[in-house]
Subunit: 472 residues, 2 copies
């Protein structure tokens, strides 16, 4: 790997000959910051190309001159993938001007969008065509599709519809040598060689820059409904999930586990949020979307009756209106805000095998007990084994009191996740935050193969250096 | 790339020191032949390792000595991926002894199996755990999971459940340097680095040898049903598919298009097969699997009524019993046998964007008219855009009369597929049959990146040389 250089004045001058003026933007602080303030870029040449060919021109020039390129989507990533704090003036390549919806085809059930399109705009375009684009994440109002795919975003509907990669039929990307991978396609069956789409999805801009994608559209559920049920314990939540899927099939759109701590935090910090079941130790939010002859309310009432008979649930309420369903979701979606108001010491985006969730939850407190006294709020997408595992100070203490403990807590939680064959990055990606975790926990065979692929496709190491794999 | 050598007596002798005697088998002709008789291997050292470590030992030795390794699953592949006709005595590495089901977990909804497990055994193990493994292909009684994944097999249920890759949660594989990729995992959300699982799936044994996989299990539909409907034309079939999915959601398990020629062939060669609608120009077989409160018969009758009102369908029959549903499927599944009895000149495993199916079907006859007079039987998984497009001699002539035409027909059909942005290999893979097609039709950016990845992971080019990419 050669030494990387900076996007100096000379380099920028040369680029000005090959790119329209609109591609050059004044650098602004927001391109050098990220939501949690853990990394800050020093400076950079901000470029906002308007076409795939312009992206290719930039990457080709960067490859020639060994100038690093940091791709920038909506800037909502939580792991520092979009901020190269250790680079001196890289190119910051924003996809914001590539924001065209190229094609919506309801017959094909596919939409082709450029990388800079905001996730919510894809959802809206799908709805306008009487279709559903099901990917739903908290940052959907600002996250851009290129970043959503590059980080393989998840969210609450993964149980039914899969992660971002499962919703992508084809991609167009600029590879590290500046060549263009023209893989936009709505094809459902296509076995013509290696699946580079899935290689670039989740690669966080280190193997190529996604410039456009063809995404799946799905039928919009005709009837929706939701229920909250108090469950005996986390194991009962799993049994309830399987019971629900056995009876209702793919109609189960989301299945969220909520621990008592989250409800207590809501009661303390956001008393306006309604808690329909009070504060049971463990409860679940179940969301259904059914076809024309489906009756979600009846299905949920039936599920509750069967689950109650089996002693899985102790209490429950089925939404009687769309408004009540929204209230349930408001509760669930307010938990992260309540967490912020309490102030976590440490938060973890982890997953474990679904069947291991009860053991993981029960072993968690002991794993960190030696470090100090803490409160744990564990909640999340139990249908995917994806838990948000957040550690808080005891009442009367603050997160600042535990600055020294953060690293030990993280190690203890990640070690426990690893012991359960789980993942230390479930849905947020690796970025720059978890490069060391990958080196600690990842299968060495996988890590070596990843490095070989990175070297093969990006021999100069210009694309997002330091993200996912350590730059060296 | 170094010159490859043969698995000579000396090489075998050295291997005998490191492997148990059970791993050595007498070569038999069946390992050197394939179903359509297009390729025949000359000879080879047949090895049947019993463990992943033994596979690694073999591949390491092969890499050291530059001996090519041809992985062998169930031998059912139709594109010559399992037969290296141009190699002198490679290792033929059969996974047949790695046939353990390592774990079935109904709570986790996952099954972990070794590569040599027969597909049908996976289906049966799932059923015994009251779960569904939905992948269904004609060769399921002999195809082994390693081959099913390496070719990313498809089948009739892709519309609902996806291709083989979509049903795989994790893989274990031996990489070309003999290292082991330990990626068995039931995790649904795991964003820790590049997705090597999807890179190896569909790579046809050229980037690694899959030794085991963790596969998704799904809820078993409680109520199933089927209907056959005569449609106005192929465009009406697409509208009917979307109507069905809008009303019934994911409950639509299969949606098969059947052309009149297929029904005529059945009437001529297999008169015992019942044709419930006679011989309409175009008809579809719709299969449903619904949850506990679903009523497939009512849903299909409702669909027919709405579709008839919209003038999409002209006739229809809803199965009144499981026996009648099986009759419908017997009809569909007998078409390939009827094709064999008629004797095709040329058959094509292709896909086009779903919305392009009507145009493709209408342009097909003109595309081959200049070559001669033919009969076309077009049928297949219209919900995936995957058509089996088979060309037959006119009555009174035989396939042998057209030996000279085969190549021209193939070129004409593939050119038309390419013009519609389709795929010349929808579900069977590339193997050795379509290496040239890839060079002709594949995006050059993709082909170059594939070659770079192959060189990076397999610098000596020992794994299945000549499959997917030309050996050179």
């Amino acid at each position: 790997m050669k030494d990387l250089t900076s996007a100096t004045g000379d380099f920028a001058e040369r680029l000005r000959r090959d790119l329209p003026a609109a591609a050059f933007r004044e650098m602004e602080p927001r391109y050098l910051e990220e939501p949690r303030g853990r990394w800050a870029g020093r400076d950079g040449l901000l470029l906002a190309p308007g076409t795939t060919e312009e992206v290719a021109t930039i990457v080709r020039a960067a490859a020639d001159a060994c100038v690093p390129v940091v791709p920038y989507g909506g800037g909502t990533g939580l792991v520092g993938g979009q901020i190269a704090a250790d680079l001196d003036a890289p190119i910051v390549l924003s996809l914001e001007r590539m924001n065209r919806i190229r094609k919506v085809d309801a017959t094909e059930n596919a939409i082709t969008v450029e990388a800079g399109v905001i996730l919510q705009s894809v959802q809206e375009a799908a709805e306008a065509a009487d279709r559903l684009f099901p990917l739903t994440i908290a940052a959907q109002g600002s996250a851009r599709i290129g970043g959503v795919l590059s980080t393989n975003a998840g969210g609450v509907n993964v149980l039914r519809y899969g992660n971002a990669r499962d919703l992508c039929l084809g991609i167009e990307a600029v590879l590290p040598d500046g060549s263009i991978l023209r893989g936009l396609s709505p094809l459902r069956k296509n076995n013509t060689g290696y699946d580079l789409r899935h290689l670039l999805i989740g690669a966080e801009g280190t193997l190529g820059i996604i410039t456009a994608a063809t995404l799946k559209l799905l039928p919009r559920p005709v009837h929706t409904g939701a229920a909250m049920m108090a469950v005996r314990d986390p194991a009962a939540a799993l049994d309830l999930l399987n019971l629900a899927r056995d009876r209702i099939g793919e109609g189960v759109s989301a299945f969220e586990l909520i621990g008592r701590m989250g409800l207590d935090f809501l009661a303390e910090t956001m008393p306006e949020v309604r808690l329909p079941l009070g504060t049971p130790d463990w409860s679940v939010l179940i969301d259904l979307g059914l076809g024309v002859s489906g009756d979600p309310q009846a299905a949920l009432e039936d599920l509750f009756a069967v689950a109650h008979e089996a002693a899985l649930v102790t209490d429950g309420v089925v939404a009687q209106s769309e408004g009540q369903r929204r209230d349930f979701w408001t509760l669930r979606e307010s938990i992260p805000e309540a967490n912020r108001r309490i102030g976590s010491v440490s938060s973890h985006d982890i997953s474990v095998p679904i069947a291991s969730i009860p053991a993981f939850i029960s072993e968690g407190p002991a794993a960190i007990a030696a470090i100090g006294e803490f409160r744990i709020n564990c909640f999340g997408h139990v249908g995917d084994g994806n838990l948000h595992y957040n550690v808080f100070p005891m009442p009367g203490r603050s997160r600042a009191d535990h600055d020294e403990d953060r690293k030990a807590i993280k190690t203890a939680v990640h070690d426990l996740v690893h012991a359960h064959h789980g993942s230390v990055s479930a849905e947020h990606g690796v970025g720059r935050l978890k490069v060391g975790d990958l080196e600690t926990y990842l299968d060495p065979g996988k890590l070596a193969a990843m490095r070989a692929i990175k070297r093969a496709l990006d021999p100069a190491g210009i694309l997002n250096p330091g993200a996912v794999l350590r730059a060296n």
